[in-house]
């Protein structure tokens, strides 16, 4: 605290002026107070003089007759005359220098009267010294001068005219009145010293009070700034609607900074105009067209254009109002405008009028508020965008949810359909299996009996029926082949086809196959060439299915090749990263187009409809081959050109893993 006071005293700017003002006020108060004190004292002395005169010397005697003593009249009229003028001055011109000088003269004159009324008692002379002490209450040593002069004149004049009444002798020397006056002057000196000390103390008190006031004012301003910052922060963080937020900010500015008017403008979306958003205080009605101000127009627009704070006299502000002199009428003297900037982007302008000059702390506070309001506006814009995005997102979420629900419904329906399809497939497979079984039994009987009948017919001399029986047998075998194919295919699709894995020598299997198809090869005039790599070794797979795969491929090659060449290449290779055996069956037959190649592995598909009629077959062979390859973890591919032949390549793992429990993908390789 003391350090603050010392600091304030050292920087005697406003505090120094305030100290002088307070000192003057203290002096004036002291003078007025003492004036009133003397007004009462003089009235009291007047009354006391009258009472004393009436008591001590009411009558003057002439033998046995008497009259009112002159002292009584002197006490009444002369005492009244002495009092009336200074008392009136004290009542109506208290504090004036002339009043206290008059009072000083009157007080000493009253003393002279009282001394005479009391018969010159030595005790009454103390009235002079008491009066001087009373006059010292003014803390103005100059009032002692007229008082002392009156005492000196009293002695001087009476010494001149009635020396005996003063000095007791008829002819007094000049130094006697000086001696009397010297005692008075002696007291004057003491009182002057006292007055000067009292004045110094009064000055010190004024300076301390001014410093304290300054400190209080500074703290008050700091509290106002803090309160303003808090209020603005609260408004900007808790508010949801921009106009309401800015209105609270404007009201806080007016209240906390003792402002006359505060307005907040925001830049429009295009950034070429300001729009009034909030105003508080002595708001005059803006012209209707001026709630929107172009950037660069009026003082507000110039602040926005310059993007620099402006501090100027209120009278110099160019305003968008019908009556430009309103600020003067409202007693507003100062104007401050702050651009609301966010990373050098203008978002608005803060403007404030005040009935006093802005204190530096107020300007700092406004600058801080301007920054905060800019952030608040930006936050509100961001929240508005966020709200829009949120709404869009929620709409998208709703759509997605609806789609999800539809998808779930579709999935359920699909599952149901799948289950139905699986049930149908199982039913179909069961049906096919049972039907094939039921068909094969009589069909085998038909084929067997037709063979028997053919043998008997060949032995009998009726060879004409042999051809018919051969047709019956051929049709039966075809039908049996077809049924077996359907049965195998349905087993595969039903997941009931099992593998019978075993290790076998590849080369031996190939030679066995060649022996099997040898007659057929020669029957069509074809030449079969087999190339087996030396490192073939054995493989672990389903021997029967492997043989069936290769047998089907060789049968097809033989069937579609006339007087051509058929080649079987067997070698080790890779199926992905897995060691495998690669079987390639190449012919120089009719070949296929690309479209025909694409559907050659589909069930009941052949190169064209004429193929079946021309070459026979069920259309299930390659479909079964393809599924067997997949069943053993291998693959099959074809490369064919019309009239140039075909090349079927099968890759089977050397070590086939039994995966019959896993579902088999049905499709082309």
């Amino acid at each position: 605290m003391m350090a603050a006071l010392q600091h304030a005293l050292e920087h005697a700017g406003p505090a120094g002026r305030r100290a002088e003002e307070l000192f003057g006020q203290y002096q004036l108060d002291s003078h007025k107070r003492t004036d009133r004190l003397f007004a009462g004292l003089m009235g009291f002395q007047w009354i006391a003089g009258i009472i004393f005169a009436l008591w001590v010397s009411p009558l003057a005697w002439y033998g046995t007759t008497s009259r009112t003593h002159l002292h009584v009249w002197a006490a009444v009229f002369l005492g009244g005359a002495i009092c009336i003028f200074p008392v009136l001055l004290a009542l109506f011109r208290a504090g004036e220098a002339s009043t206290r000088y008059t009072i000083a003269v009157a007080q000493m004159l009253m003393g002279a009267l009282l001394i005479h009324l009391t018969g010159g008692r030595i005790e009454t002379h103390f009235h002079v010294f008491g009066s001087l002490a009373f006059l010292a209450f003014y803390r103005d040593w100059r009032v002692l001068i007229p008082a002392t002069v009156v005492v000196a004149l009293d002695h001087l004049l009476r010494g001149m005219f009635w020396p005996q009444s003063v000095y007791g002798v008829l002819v007094a020397s000049q130094w006697r009145w000086l001696e009397h006056a010297a005692w008075v002057v002696f007291e004057d000196v003491i009182l002057i010293v006292s007055c000067r000390r009292s004045i110094l103390e009064l000055k010190d008190t004024a300076e301390r009070t001014a410093a304290l006031e300054q400190e209080v004012k500074t703290r008050q301003q700091a509290e106002n700034v803090a309160s303003l910052t808090a209020a603005v922060g609260l408004a900007l963080t808790r508010g949801t609607e921009l106009p309401a937020m800015l209105q609270q900010c404007a009201e806080a500015l007016v209240q906390r900074l003792d402002g006359g008017l505060a307005r907040i403008w925001t830049a429009d979306d295009r950034g070429d105009a300001l729009e009034l958003q909030a105003g508080a205080g002595a708001c005059p009605q803006l012209d209707a067209q001026h709630t929107r101000v172009r950037i660069g127009a009026f003082t507000i627009g110039k602040v926005a254009q310059a993007r620099e704070p402006v501090l100027m006299r209120a009278a110099d502000v160019i305003q968008p109002v019908a009556d430009p002199s309103w600020a003067e009428r409202e007693g507003l003297v100062a104007f401050a405008g702050y651009p609301l900037l966010l990373d050098s982007k203008l978002v608005g302008v803060l403007a404030m009028f005040a009935p006093h000059e802005f204190a530096p702390s107020a300007l700092d506070a406004m600058a801080a508020v301007a920054d905060a309001v800019a952030l608040g506006i930006d936050r509100e814009h961001a929240e508005r965008e966020l709200a829009r995005y949120t709404r869009d997102l929620e709409a998208a979420h709703d759509t997605q949810r609806q789609n999800g629900e539809q998808l779930a419904t579709l999935v359920d329906q699909l599952r149901m359909t799948q289950r139905q399809a699986e049930a149908a497939t199982r039913a179909k497979s069961d049906f096919l299996a049972s039907m094939s079984h039921e068909l094969r039994t009589p069909l085998n009987a038909i084929i067997l009996y037709s063979e028997l009948l053919q043998e008997e017919a060949e032995d009998r001399p009726q060879p004409s029926s042999v051809a018919d029986l051969q047709r019956i047998q051929s049709a039966g075998k075809h039908l049996l082949e077809l049924i077996n194919g359907i049965l195998d295919l349905s087993k595969i699709e039903a997941g009931k086809m099992t593998l019978s894995l075993e290790s076998f020598d590849v080369r031996a299997m190939i030679h066995e196959l060649v022996d099997t198809v040898g007659p057929l090869v020669r029957q069509n005039g074809n030449q079969l060439t087999v190339h087996c790599a030396d490192d073939l070794g054995t493989m672990h797979a389903d021997l029967m299915k492997t043989r069936q795969i290769l047998l089907n491929l060789l049968s097809n090659a033989i069937k579609f090749t006339r007087d051509g060449a058929i080649t079987v290449d067997v070698a080790r290779g890779l199926a992905g990263a897995q060691p495998s055996i690669v079987f390639a069956v190449t012919d120089s037959g009719v070949g296929m187009t690309l479209e025909q190649s694409a559907k050659i592995f589909d069930p009941f598909s052949q190169a064209d409809v004429t193929t079946t009629r021309k070459y026979g077959g069920t259309g299930l062979g390659l479909a079964i081959v393809s599924r067997f390859c997949l069943l053993m973890g291998g693959e099959i591919s074809v490369e064919s050109f019309p009239d140039r032949g075909s090349c079927f390549t099968v890759r089977l793992p050397i070590e086939v893993v039994d995966a019959v429990d896993e579902p088999v993908t049905v499709g082309t390789a």
Binding site: G63, L70, L78, I122, V169
Partner: protein, 211 residues
């Protein structure tokens, strides 16, 4: 309730005019006061009728003078407030002289006044003085024998009955304090010498006819 001023606003007098007015009023005031004081001072300093005492002790006086020391005769009006200061100065004289004179204080006692008219504070004050004989002066007989007209008149006769001082012993009317009469009286009583043997007397007239 508002007030409305019609006409131009009143202008506060200029500082010069106010000073002039103040000076004039102050001058009037001081004139009145000093005039009054002057009257008071003049009244207080106007001496009473001078006495015409016999140079030798009057032979028809009922008072008996002392033969071995001076005899002081003080004549007073018992109602005169101015004489209070004279009684005080007499006490001062007696206090300052080791050998008291034979002292008579005679208070006027007209025959037309009420009883105990003369028993005032002055009487009691005089009675309190040492070696003082306080007596009534019926109808001012002794005052006339000593040729005295004014209250406070003091006469001093030596042991031989010769008048050696006549006058007042206050500086002005009713004004206490050092004065020429008192100083002369003390000098005569202590050393037998004084620079003056007569002073003015300030007090009420003992006889109405005298005014």
């Amino acid at each position: 309730m508002g007030s409305e001023t019609i006409g131009p606003p009143l202008e506060r007098p200029s500082r010069g005019k106010r000073l002039l007015w103040f000076s004039m009023l102050a001058a009037v005031w001081l004139s009145v006061v000093f005039s009054g004081l002057w009257v008071v001072w003049a009244y207080e300093n106007r001496p009473g009728t001078e006495a015409n005492p016999p140079q030798a002790w009057p032979p028809h006086s009922s008072l008996v003078p002392a033969s071995d020391r001076p005899t002081l005769v003080f004549l007073a009006h018992p109602q005169c407030t101015c004489t209070r200061a004279s009684i005080g100065e007499l006490a001062e004289v007696l206090a300052r002289t080791p050998n008291h004179p034979k002292t008579y204080v005679l208070f006027l006692r007209p025959s037309v006044v009420d009883a105990d008219w003369e028993k005032t504070g002055l009487w009691r004050s005089a009675m309190a003085l040492p070696d003082v004989t306080v007596l009534r002066d019926h109808d001012g007989v002794e005052a006339r024998r000593f040729g005295v007209e004014t209250s406070g008149q003091t006469l001093l006769y030596d042991a031989g009955g010769r008048l050696i001082f006549s006058g007042g012993i206050t500086g002005s009317r009713g004004h206490a304090g050092d004065n020429a009469g008192e100083a002369a009286l003390v000098a005569l009583l202590t050393s037998g010498q004084a620079d003056r043997r007569a002073t003015s007397v300030f007090g009420c007239p003992l006889f109405a006819t005298g005014n």
